[in-house]
Amino acid sequence: MIFDAEVFQITVLSLQISALATGLSLFIGLPFGTLLALGKFPLRSFLLSMVNTGMGLPPVVVGLFVAMMLWRSGPLGDLKLIYTPTAIIIAQVIISFPVVTGLTAAALQALDPRLRLQLYGLGASRGQMIWMLWREARLPLLAALMAGFGSVISEVGASMMVGGNIRYQTRVLTTAIVLETGKGHFDIAIALGILLLIITFLVNWALTWIQQRGARQ
């Protein structure tokens, strides 16, 4: 199956799922991480601890939780999402969202706290102030994005459990590698592994280039 249409389909599906999951994690994690970094509310410290714990969530535990939720007899069974790419995306968002949130909060907390006073003192609205802080922390925020992408493109346990590794439907690079290894097709598994590494490298290379261009400036 090396370098044929099926490999192409698996690769594209892997990229689509991981990109969407990373994008959603960023969409939720960036504002939530900002709230945790800048906000003052009673449960802030507790939530930050939860997020930091979530950064090390075992993907199989996430897979188990999402599978139970989406199982036909589960609370969200009527949605019929189990063994679909959407189920994988849900699981991957749960895995990468704490990573993006935690690193966003850490990046913003590392900025000089007087920067907020300075921005307000120049007439920035709250939204403008936050935008400027994101801009100031763009290098670590890009690192957060890379870490979020890395956590989902390499993930296998949850994808297997909620996606089912169904050919042409939910099979992604990591689950395909597991399958081929199980069948003893080490050559195919190695080829897919190299492909996964190349894709991961190319995406991170692009993000690193953007990050370091910012650093050089």
Partner: protein
């Protein structure tokens, strides 16, 4: 006698005068009258944590004047400045801006009438031009106007040649000049300076002070200048307010304040060798 009672004659008289005014409404009716101070602070109490950080019965800031706030470290000088910028909330009291309660405006609306320069330049990680343009962009001003005003103020502060340079590549003096340009380009009604030159070496500091004094005299921007350096205050300000122990102790013209300290603590502060 409590600390609050130990104000200067000027401060006490001003308070009495204001008590005689009928209401804020009557003040509003004469807003345009040039005798109305730009800012009046009344019965202010600001807490930082559980302890009072500033108690101030009355202080006025006249339009066009440079008012220096002096006092030892931790006295409450910066608290006053941050409260004036509405970056700290007061527990009680009010700020009257051009005859109207400042609280009537939203924080952002109010802050767009002022500009703040802190002890460190805190420049943004971008070019000098973009730094100076930032406040104008917050206000939604057009590109052509931004370009005109930024170039003008970079020129006035003597840093036009640094326009394209990254903020991180500037020396301390250059960065503080850019920080001043970033505030002055906004043409604020009230300029707030919080010990902006304390981290600079003496020659650089002296040059910037000279330039700033000349510029402020030229543009007549009302300025509140926090410092613990008395010669600096005397050089820059038309009036001096002394804050010690989180209370305003004295306010007046520099010669009056230095010649006739309101109490022993003010006198001791003036004679402190560090200052």
């Amino acid at each position: 006698m409590s600390k609050q009672k130990r104000f200067t004659t000027e401060a006490t008289e001003s308070t009495e005068k204001n008590k005689e005014e009928n209401s804020v409404a009557s003040v509003r009716s004469v807003v345009e009258n040039s005798t109305i101070p730009l800012v009046e602070i009344r019965d202010l109490l600001v807490r930082r944590g559980e302890h009072p950080a500033l108690e101030l019965e009355y202080l006025s800031i006249e339009k066009g004047e440079v008012l220096a706030i002096v006092g030892p470290n931790g006295a409450g000088k910066s608290t006053l400045l941050l409260t004036l910028a509405r970056l700290l909330k007061s527990e009680k009291g009010e700020i009257i801006f051009k005859g109207q309660k400042a609280a009537n405006d939203s924080d952002t609306t109010y802050r767009r009438r002022i500009a703040l320069v802190l002890q460190d330049p805190l420049l943004f990680d971008t070019s000098v031009f973009e730094n100076v343009a930032s406040g104008l962009k917050f206000r939604g001003i057009g590109k052509d106007e931004i370009k005109r005003r930024v170039e003008l103020w970079l020129e006035r502060l003597g840093v036009a040649h640094l326009s394209k340079r990254r903020a991180g590549q500037l020396s301390g003096g250059e960065a503080q000049r850019v920080s001043l340009a970033r505030a002055l380009v906004l043409e604020p009604e009230l300029l707030l300076l919080d010990e902006p030159f304390s981290a600079l070496d003496p020659p650089t500091r002296a040059r910037i002070l000279d330039d700033l004094k000349r510029l402020l005299a030229e543009i007549q921007t009302t300025t509140v200048f926090v410092t613990h350096d008395l010669p600096e205050a005397k050089k820059m300000a038309e009036r001096i307010a002394v804050i010690i122990g989180n209370c305003l102790r004295q306010a007046g013209k520099p010669d009056e304040v230095f010649s006739y300290p309101a109490d022993n603590e003010v006198s001791a502060f003036f004679s402190e060798p560090l200052y």
